[in-house]
């Protein structure tokens, strides 16, 4: 990233068009003038109008790298030829930290917490360089009662001095437990003529750690490479692609013998992620017939293409309808359908959808005789669902070993779940 990260680096927050002045700003290095940010909003709107908006804007010598969260823009400014992915990652980190502090990050939560927001900004970055960004560690010494910092007697945050930067010493729990969530989310993109353009699973293993001391953890998976290494046949093992780990995992050991060993941070964190290709789990066939000036007929067929023993819960199929449609009528073989005029969709809800089953919904809408002028896009059908106790990949946690020098017994709990990610089927 060259000589400095955010040359003048300041992620100021500002509210959209009404207020050209930033809501809050912090100038870390002083090489970008404070006034520069005032050009941002105008530039953004101008680009938006031209249809040439990009997450990177420039005014004179100043580059604005921005992201949007709720009604806020987070903007980093720099004059240097910086590393864009680092800047964006940092801005997202800021959002993450603020969300953990204030539950929601929006104009109001910033206004209510000015003091703590400034303190956090100072901890996250110094002189334009990211510093401590782990919210667990930050929470140890920046607390909601912010005056604590200034008392002078306050305790020295041990984590900031530890060799293991992500975990403090002296953590104590009465009951030592680890909760392991294996979550697989399915992304699907199907073209209007029914061919699958993208169908993949992004898996994550999330841990919730309530363990005392400095425990050493080892996670065993039915990893195909490991099974081959140990000569245990291929069946019941899964092949993982693109595996990524939390920084606590010792990568060298994984590379050597595929062991996943680590000292975990306290509380929630994502241990690893992987991805693989798959077949679509819920298949949708749809016919949307539009008879101009009179009516729209919609027929949607949904099919569960997963194991019969598993059940998808809370299935919601959102089917787009024209914005000027009226007088809806529905017929469903199972579940219920309702019309959401504000989103221009029909939502077909099926509480429980076992694998191998097929269901049907028909909808009928009236159309006004006077047609709307402007053209409408063709939004896709999107599907939400959740299949508990099931993973598409077949990944299994074979064991979780927990070793701590005090020798306590700890219980690992495992939960599997498959859910929809970006699950879209285009309509013609």
């Amino acid at each position: 990233m060259g000589r400095a990260v955010y040359g003048g680096g300041s992620p100021p927050f500002l509210t959209p068009p009404t207020a050209p002045q930033p809501l809050i700003s912090r100038n870390y290095k002083g090489d970008v003038g404070l006034g520069e940010i005032e050009h941002f909003m105008g530039l953004l709107l101008q680009r938006e109008e031209e249809g040439a908006l990009a997450p990177l804007l420039t005014h004179g010598k100043v580059h604005f790298l921005w992201i949007k969260h709720a009604n806020l823009y987070l903007v980093a400014t720099t004059k240097k030829n910086s590393n864009a992915s680092l800047v964006y990652s940092f801005l997202y980190k800021v959002v993450e930290v603020f969300c953990e502090y204030f539950k929601e990050l929006e104009e109001e939560s910033i206004r209510d917490n000015f003091v703590i927001v400034y303190e956090l900004l100072d901890e996250l970055m110094d002189f334009g360089f990211p510093q401590t960004t782990d919210s667990k560690i930050l929470q140890e010494y920046i607390t909601q009662e912010s005056n604590k910092l200034e008392t002078g007697k306050s305790r020295v945050p041990t984590t900031v001095t530890n060799a293991v930067s992500w975990r403090s010493e002296g953590i104590k729990y009465k009951k030592n437990e680890v909760f392991i969530d294996v979550i697989e989310s399915v992304n699907l993109l199907v073209s209007a003529n029914g061919s699958v353009l993208l169908s993949e699973v992004v898996g994550t293993i999330k841990l919730k750690v309530f363990l005392s001391g400095m425990p050493e953890l080892r996670l065993g998976l039915n990893d195909r490479v490991l099974f081959e290494l140990t000569g245990r046949g291929k069946n019941k093992s899964v092949e993982l692609e693109d595996v990524k780990f939390h920084q606590c995992v010792r990568l060298s050991r994984f590379d050597n013998d595929r062991t996943i060993s680590f000292i975990p941070p306290d509380g929630d964190f994502e241990l690893m992620s992987y991805r693989l290709n798959t077949q679509p789990l819920i298949w949708i066939e749809s016919v949307i017939e539009k008879f101009s000036h009179s009516r729209v007929e919609i027929m949607v067929k949904a099919k569960g293409q997963f194991k019969k023993q598993s059940v998808a819960n809370g299935v919601e199929i959102a089917v787009p309808v024209p914005s000027d449609a009226d007088s809806p009528k529905f017929k469903t073989s199972v579940g219920s359908a309702r019309y959401l005029p504000e989103r221009n969709v029909v939502i077909w809800t099926i509480k429980s959808f076992p694998g191998g089953k097929e269901h049907l919904m028909r909808a009928h809408f009236g159309l006004p005789s006077v047609e709307k002028e402007e053209e409408e896009g063709r939004p896709p059908i999107s599907v939400c669902f959740e299949i508990p106790y099931f993973t598409v990949s077949g990944i299994q946690v074979r064991y979780m070993k927990i070793i701590e020098k005090s020798g306590y017994q700890a219980l690992p709990w495992v939960r599997y779940i498959t859910q929809s990610g970006d699950y879209q089927l285009r309509t013609s």
Partner: protein, 665 residues
């Protein structure tokens, strides 16, 4: 105690900092260093606490103190860099705390800016490599960037380093992946197979960044994918489906994806890619639809027949913006691929009714003028334009119409004569726009001098297939962009970046690694052999002869400057103000070209100069005058190591600058 402003608070703070036991209160100390350091009048009280902060037991104090040193020196500006402090910071690179280590690098980089930043020698490089595992994602990305500066001594060492860093190519943080990729590409610049291998290995991480939940990271990754495709066109071909747009994606991502699709298209996927792009052509967003049409137009350079068929089909929709974009795509296409002219001409009739915008009209009129002999109703379409010329709003359309009609007149005189007369009459007698009127007069007089002359002037080639080859010179070597990988340059795109940086003075950024060693550099001269007239510049210079009227562009200069090591550094006495014009003239006399020069009175004042001698050796010079400094800093880089010539060049420079100083004051 953030942001206190009052006098009283300041006094209180001074008292606190003056207290020798300030260290006892670490958090307060830290707060002071972090936050109030920029307040005027506080710095002198901070110096001592800062230095003792470097040796504090608590790492969070050391972290703040290390960066505090850089802040302090930045604030003091002109002050001499304290060698002891620099040494102390270098030794802190061995600190236990990973953030202290990275902060030291950052601070040293800032403090030693003028000397080219922090030095990464072998022990430091190896130490950093060993500490990599402890760093957080920010630290990792930054250390990987600092390591760009290190040049391994042997092949063995190089490969050891690459092996050590291999894991970071698959890191979960996209910024680490990008930084590691760049380091690999730069370090392995002499091993194309290693580079190719690295690009294969980062395919997965890059693809997953392209489908990242964060739109901005996704956008950045897509821009870098395009960069890679520029060198390895087939690289992502089998993953083309990953670049299909999803409904809810923002416009900028969809555009990038379409560009990527254009670049990775090959025999196997062309059908599917075109099918997908066709879907976008009817999108409600006009920009997106037109973008998709232009994308198909691009692909048509290779897969002409299929694409022309598809584009012709789109004309059937009779949509204004679609027809306009298709006709523009056609115009650009026939110029590059003359073989499709007939098909295009067959598709044209009927388009005129649907086109309303200036760009589309111009394209249609151009096609009718240039290829009118193949479009039966061309004269009638142009006649409609002539009829309505009074109400035509766009100047460019009228100009295009004039040219097209004169051209068509040459191939179909009988049908065009009458209306050409009417058009010329209108343009000369009634038109209010002077440019159009002049163009009309020009054609009128040209026609007066006879058809043969008109033909000579207007019947230029109607296509230029070689241009397509030039433009499609895609397979640029990896090394041409390796040094700008993971910077803003690929994110802006080549052209925009050049535009943004064009008006800025050449910044000798030491962050980029020197790409070529001066000794193995291609001996090819950067300056074209133009004027052979040479002039002895100075009686004392002996062997040195500088060639006059050589011309180096700012980009060439910057590239060469970055690739060379410093040959010589000296200070010239200087007092008073600078008169850039005087200096420039004086330098011109001795055949030293001024590449860029600050205006008078700018602080610090800088200038970049270049000269070449008769053997082809380049001398690149930076002049730097800090505010109120009695000496001007001169840095010279030489493209070939010739100490004698260098001495001669410096003596010339000394003389000229001496003279300019004398004239100026």
């Amino acid at each position: 105690m953030p942001y206190l402003g009052g006098e009283e608070a300041l006094r209180e703070l001074r008292r606190a900092l003056a207290n020798p036991h300030v260290q006892a209160d670490r958090l307060r100390y830290r707060a002071a260093v972090l936050r109030v350091i920029r307040m005027p009048g506080i710095q002198e009280y901070l110096q001592q606490p800062l230095l003792s902060g470097l040796r504090d037991k608590a790492s969070y104090v050391r972290r703040a103190a290390v960066l505090g040193c850089a802040k302090m020196l930045k604030l003091q500006g002109d002050c001499e860099v304290d060698g002891a402090l620099v040494n102390e910071l270098y030794s802190l690179l061995r600190d236990r705390d990973p953030i202290v280590v990275v902060n030291c690098l950052r601070a040293l980089e800032e403090i030693l800016k003028k000397e080219g930043g922090v030095v990464i020698n072998k022990p430091i490089a190896h130490h950093l490599l060993n500490r990599m595992a402890d760093l957080d994602q920010w630290g990792k990305s930054e250390v990987l960037t600092f390591l760009l500066r290190y040049r391994p001594r042997s092949e063995e060492e190089l490969f050891d380093i690459l092996n050590l860093l291999d894991g970071y190519l698959k890191s979960s943080s996209p910024s680490v992946v990008m930084a590691a990729t760049k380091l690999f590409l730069v370090l392995a610049k002499e091993y194309p197979h290693v580079q190719a291998d690295v690009l294969v290995r980062v395919k997965g991480p890059l693809l997953s960044a392209c489908t990242s939940e964060s739109r901005e990271l996704c956008f950045t990754a897509l821009c870098h994918v395009r960069q890679i495709l520029g060198s390895l066109p087939g690289h992502f071909s089998s993953h083309y489906k990953k670049f299909f747009c999803s409904y809810s994606e923002p416009h900028y991502i969809k555009c990038q994806k379409m560009e990527v699709l254009c670049e990775l298209v090959n025999d196997e996927n062309v059908q599917q890619v075109l099918e997908e792009l066709k879907g976008y052509c009817t999108d409600v967003s006009v920009e997106l639809a037109q973008g998709a049409i232009f994308a198909i137009g691009n692909i048509a350079r290779t897969y002409t027949e299929q694409c022309v068929g598809l584009l012709t089909e789109l004309l059937g929709l009779q949509q204004e913006h679609i027809t306009s974009a298709v006709v523009q795509a056609f115009r650009d296409l026939v110029w590059l691929c003359p073989q499709c002219t007939d098909a295009v001409c067959r598709a044209l009739p009927g388009c005129e009714d649907a086109i309303q915008d200036s760009e589309g009209k111009q394209a249609l009129i151009w096609l009718l003028g240039a290829h009118g002999e193949k479009v039966p109703n061309a004269p009638y379409v142009l006649e409609d334009f002539v009829e309505n010329v009074k109400s035509e709003m766009f100047q460019a359309v009228k100009m295009e119409l004039l040219t097209a009609l004169v051209r068509l007149f040459l191939s179909r005189p009988a049908e065009c004569q009458d209306m050409l007369g009417r058009l010329l009459h209108y343009c000369i007698e009634e038109e209010m726009d002077m440019a159009v009127r002049d163009r009309g007069l020009f054609y009128y007089r040209l026609l007066q001098s006879g058809v043969e002359v008109v033909k000579r002037v207007l019947c230029s080639p109607k296509s230029d297939p070689s241009l397509g080859l030039l433009e499609d010179q895609t397979e640029r070597p990896v090394n041409t962009w390796a040094s700008e990988f993971n910077t803003l340059a690929p994110v802006y795109g080549r052209e925009r970046w050049a535009l943004i940086t064009a008006h800025q003075p050449v910044e000798p950024s030491y962050a980029c690694s020197p790409c070529t060693d001066s000794r193995n550099r291609d001996t090819e001269s950067l300056i074209s052999e133009g004027n052979k007239e040479v002039l002895k510049v100075h009686p004392d210079t002996g062997s040195l002869t500088l060639i006059p009227d050589v011309y180096l562009t700012a980009e060439q200069f910057e590239k060469t400057w970055l690739s060379l090591d410093m040959s010589c550094h000296l200070s010239l006495p200087w007092c008073g103000t600078v008169h850039p014009d005087t200096i420039q003239t004086a330098l011109h006399v001795v055949h030293i070209q001024t590449i860029a020069m600050s205006k008078a009175g700018v602080q610090p004042w800088k200038a970049y100069l270049s000269a070449q001698d008769d053997t082809g050796c380049l001398f690149l010079t930076e002049l730097l005058l800090e505010a109120a400094d009695p000496e001007m800093q001169v840095s010279v880089k030489q493209s070939e190591a010739k100490p004698e010539a260098l001495q001669a060049f410096i003596s010339v420079l000394r003389t000229v600058m001496g003279a300019a100083a004398g004239l100026g004051s």
